[in-house]
């Protein structure tokens, strides 16, 4: 590396000697110092004035505008966020209330319905009971009627049979009592 650098320096020296007529650093030649100083000051003063009077305040106002805008937007966003949160809460409350109402309505209607059904059921049951009682009465009456008619029929039949067999007319009351006795024995089987 060292030899490389020394070679490079040697080559540069050769190069400069070949290329440029004047040796040494042009920076140290005072011929154009005054000119450079003059133009530097002139250019820099113009640059300074134009920057400080026109461009920097513009950029500053741009930056400030943006910062203000961002701040404003953030504030607005926060405000809207709060508003939306409040609305959400309100909405939740309304929803809760509505749910409660729905439950109440549901419960009430169920109760009313139950009561209605119950009362109707009772009425119907009562009617059914009445009908049943009536039917039972009819049945028992029918039974009674049927028993007496059966007795009559059997009395007649016995009287006829006896008449046919013996040729005698038996005492009506004795036949009746005999039929009654037998039918009492046998009726208990059927009733």
């Amino acid at each position: 590396m060292k030899s490389f650098f020394s070679l490079s320096i040697a080559l540069t020296a050769l190069n400069t000697n070949l290329n440029s007529a004047e040796a040494g650093m042009p920076q140290l030649d005072p011929k154009y110092w005054a000119s450079q100083a003059f133009w530097l000051i002139l250019v820099f003063v113009i640059l300074y004035i134009s920057l400080s009077k026109f461009y920097l305040p513009k950029i500053k106002s741009n930056l400030d505008n943006r910062e203000n805008k961002i701040k404003e937007d953030l504030e607005n966003a926060n405000k809207f966020k709060e508003q939306s949160e409040a609305k959400l809460k309100e909405y939740g409350l309304i929803l809760d209330k509505a749910k409660k109402e729905v439950n109440k309505i549901h419960f009430d209607s169920k109760n009313a319905l139950d009561k209605n059904i119950q009362s109707k059921k009772e009425v119907i049951e009562k009617e059914i009971e009445k009908e049943i009682l009536k039917a039972q009465k009819e049945i028992s009456e029918l039974k009674k009627n049927s028993i007496s008619s059966i007795q009559n029929i059997s009395e007649n039949i016995t009287a006829n049979i006896i008449e046919n067999i013996s040729g005698d007319k038996l005492n009506e009351s004795s036949v009746k009592s005999a039929v009654k006795e037998i039918s009492k024995k046998n009726l208990s089987k059927y009733l």
Partner: protein, 239 residues
Amino acid sequence: MQQFTVHKIGPEINIAGVDLSFTNASLFMIISASLIILLLFVGSKEKKIIPSKIQLIAEMFYTFVAKMISDTAGSKAKPYFPFIFSLFMFVLFCNMVGMLPYSFTVTSHIIVTLIMALFIFIAVTVIGFIKHGFKYLSIFVPSGVPAVLLPLITIIEIISYLSRPVSLSVRLFANMMAGHTMLKVFGGFVVSLGILGGWLPLSFSVALTGLEILVAFLQAYVFAILTCIYLNDALNLHH
């Protein structure tokens, strides 16, 4: 060294026996300043909330320098923001324009950097005396130094204070000149070693160009931040 030579462009301007001719150095100063003004003109023309690309660049420079000043010199240095901004931009653009082939690097001339550094030095000293009167001289007497060492320290402080313009100007000038000389040297190698051996210096040249662009930015930054530090010394005396 040919790239550093100053030559006259146009007629000779001679005012009171002093040669103030328009030279290539003056031309590149004007080019750099025009580029800055163009950038800032385009960058501040439209007042968009969402900036365009050039506006973004201009605003980035603005905030970069503003942050540099507020970080190093505090809020008292705000009135000097336009000056430091112009200084930073001027040095940066002169350095960057100097990186273009066949251009001229204004900041590679000691007289240019020396004038800027001397102006800063004198301005900072004047600001210091205006703000603090003769108390400004206490900058040479650091607090908490043993009495035996005090004369020695004071002398050192004075020397270091007086060498500020020299160090400031020579740093920029030497960096610029050395960088461009190196590029020239390696460029010369590429030519002299030809198509067979020229590839190594060519790759060096490419790498050095990248480095030099970095240096061009860095030196502008250093120049500006040292100005801020000197300003800070003058504005906020007790450090």
